[in-house]
Subunit: 434 residues, 2 copies
């Protein structure tokens, strides 16, 4: 088998077999296939796409490149949830405790924020003492005891994906649905889970700008799951404005706490409940999706989800009191109001710009190595469809230093579109792919 | 300027500017842009193509990566001829002396054979004593004296193209018209010529299998020439059977000698005359193409072209007597006849297979480093359209060793298609692009 022949066949739109995909991934991981051949293959894939079989084969080869976690000795079905990344998206911190409170075992393996999107681990680490760098033994023990644990991804999982991702980043081959789908699924499927709920974001603040692309990505991932014998469902949800009101790590934890205490924003509550319901259904803690939705709502309403979250925070070294006393969380030292330049309706809130502004103030990182400031961020005061007066507060920025503040403020001001006509209401949950 | 952004723009079908092309070529030549980014760019180019402006910019950047030859101190217009490569294609050895005999200065800078196609330098070197490794000074002196010199390409010309070609070869990005066109033109335009006649081969034995692709390549090269202020014309010619009867180095030199003595095959004579006429016309040794055709025929008929060729052979150290006494050329030690399995008409002679068989017997090389056997090859006894009986000789193979002989014989036998109906006559010169 020659690598150049496989590149040529992919270039010509032919389907590669399982062994050929293994040859490519194993050869690349071992260093026998050089970067320059792999990047040509990746660009050919960008243009020619992949069949479902190829995506599954690529995913399996990437899984096989590293260690896999077995959770089979922990009773119950293990269900994870993954989002393709949005702005203000703190649903993992809400749906996971709801599902765990309903009896689902949730090994929540998460990432850190990069660019304009936040990361679950960064948000959790704004809680004083919270640790996500658990040993595998501590992770298992906590899953067995609490049914929920938040942890970062081990470097030993799917190392081929890590190398490929770094190569894609510098060769203009990131935006390829088969490559995105197999990258996400290889990491998730190596975790020893039985089922997975995906939240594929679409819109200005998301990686996928068009619904048709989000649908293709969702279908690709659900298809890979099916071939790997895992139950996978995907929601396609709107990211044309931030989710909830809070953007920024500690600010988002505060909103999580409010939501788990039934006082959260309507959109965040609704999406978190739907994600939790899907987790409960796939985790077989309800006989139907309808029943699962009822269970999810009950676990939120009866306070058991909030109790579960506090127990998990405590188990992972965090101070659960900080969830009730926000002064125990990192707090910003300064606040600036962004005012509406005129009266009208909020017709759009460009989520990516809010995320970028927040990141610029220190909430996010441009490179993986950067440190973040957990206290800073933005709190929206209005959402799309609301009426505002000239001079109304649109958003409050919370900062600890004035560097980049003016630039961030300009970005946020421009992110709000005010129009004379009342905008059409946009659906939050656009589609389900299962 | 970031390389990844240029890759993304090429991927998206956008046009890159002159400075951006220079950035890519210079960065790659200097080693600042790594192979893996360049190969992604090349694959994106394969799919997205290039505009005429981009091709010219790429060509100019590749020319600028190395040395350029100036021939302006030698009086007269310099005209070269280049073929994209065929089987039995020895036209350079015929049209160049005709054009030189007509007063055109012909710096014939040629290559070696690779794969199933032969190379002008290899053919010439089958003449005892003939040397193509001249110094630049000797090259200039001979051009000034004889108006014709055959030489190999210097390593200092267009080194960026050399590196790019090696990368394309292993990354499945050879078959891209903008990349082929700029590769050929960068080498030719660095030679200090005023005009160029191109012979773009199309068909089974050629790199371009389809006429539409050959036309695009011809148009691309003529367009690059125009933007670089050189007069360029291209013929698109049929390569669905070998040109002439002889395939193999010394065998082809014999046929060249016969053709220059007015006893050559009709197709080879016709194409050589047309190429020579174009060279004479572009070299301004005739006022019209019609007149140039007449001049070319006269120079062949009056023996001055043959005389010119002999003088050049002598000037380059070769024995001109070998052109009259073929026993002075390398001769094969064995011969095998390939017989027709049945009566009928020769409907096709798969040129690539004849070329591969000849190469297999030693006439060509699989890798650049391989040595060749100048004596071996094939002489067709019939051409497409001729009637044969069962047992008629289709072809004679000339060999010096029996290794690979059976395999070559099978390949040649299968290359001849014999059918009951008389095949349609195919045009030799299919199109002119100018």
């Amino acid at each position: 088998m020659r690598t150049v022949d496989l590149i040529l066949r992919k270039r010509g739109g032919e389907e590669l077999g399982v062994e050929e995909m293994q040859f490519l991934v194993n050869g690349y991981t071992s260093g026998e296939i050089p970067d320059y051949q792999m990047s040509a293959f990746l660009m050919a894939t960008y243009f020619s796409g992949m069949t479902d079989r190829e995506m599954s084969a690529l995913t399996e080869a990437m899984i096989a490149s590293g260690q896999t976690v077995s959770l089979s000795d922990i009773p119950g079905l293990k269900v994870d949830k993954h989002s393709t990344g949005g702005v203000g998206d703190k649903t993992s911190l809400i749906c996971a405790p709801i599902a765990a409170a309903a009896g689902v075992v949730v090994p929540m393996i998460s990432g850190r924020g990069l660019g304009h999107t936040g990361g679950t681990l960064d948000k959790l680490e704004s809680i004083p003492g919270f640790r996500t760098d658990l040993t595998v033994e501590a992770f298992r023990a906590q899953l067995a005891e609490h049914g929920l644990c938040f942890i970062g991804q081990s470097d030993e999982v799917a190392p081929a994906d890590k190398r490929l991702y770094a190569l894609r980043d510098v060769t203009g081959t990131v935006e390829s649905i088969p490559l995105i789908a197999s990258s996400i699924m290889s990491k998730k499927m190596a975790e020893g889970i039985d089922a997975l709920v995906l939240d594929v974001k679409v819109g200005h603040g998301a990686f996928m700008k068009k619904q048709v692309d989000a649908r293709r990505l969702a279908q690709a991932m659900v298809g890979i799951g099916r071939r790997l014998d895992k139950r996978v469902q995907a929601l396609i949800t709107d990211m044309n404005q931030p989710l909830g009101y809070a953007v920024g790590n500690a600010l988002e934890v505060m909103e999580v706490s409010q939501t788990l205490q039934k006082a959260g924003p309507a959109d965040l509550t609704r999406l978190s409940l739907e994600l939790a319901a899907r987790m409960i259904y796939l985790g077989k803690q309800a006989a139907s999706l309808e029943e699962a939705r009822k269970v999810a709502e009950d676990r939120l309403m009866d306070g058991s989800a909030y109790k579960k979250f506090k127990a998990v925070v405590q188990a992972q070294g965090g101070n659960p009191q900080a969830l009730d006393k926000f002064e125990l969380l990192p707090n910003a030292t300064g606040m600036r109001e962004i005012l509406s330049p005129r009266a009208g309706y909020v017709s759009a809130i460009m989520a990516e710009d809010i995320g970028r502004a927040s990141s610029m103030m220190g909430a996010g990182r441009g490179r993986k190595e950067d440190a973040i400031d957990p206290a800073v961020g933005a709190i929206l005061e209005v959402k799309v469809g609301e009426k505002v007066d000239a001079g109304s507060v649109l958003c409050r920025l919370y900062y600890t230093g004035e560097e980049n503040l003016d630039e961030a403020a300009d970005l946020v001001e421009d992110a709000f579109r005010i129009s004379g006509a009342r905008p059409e209401v946009r659906e939050l949950i656009l589609e389900v792919v299962s």
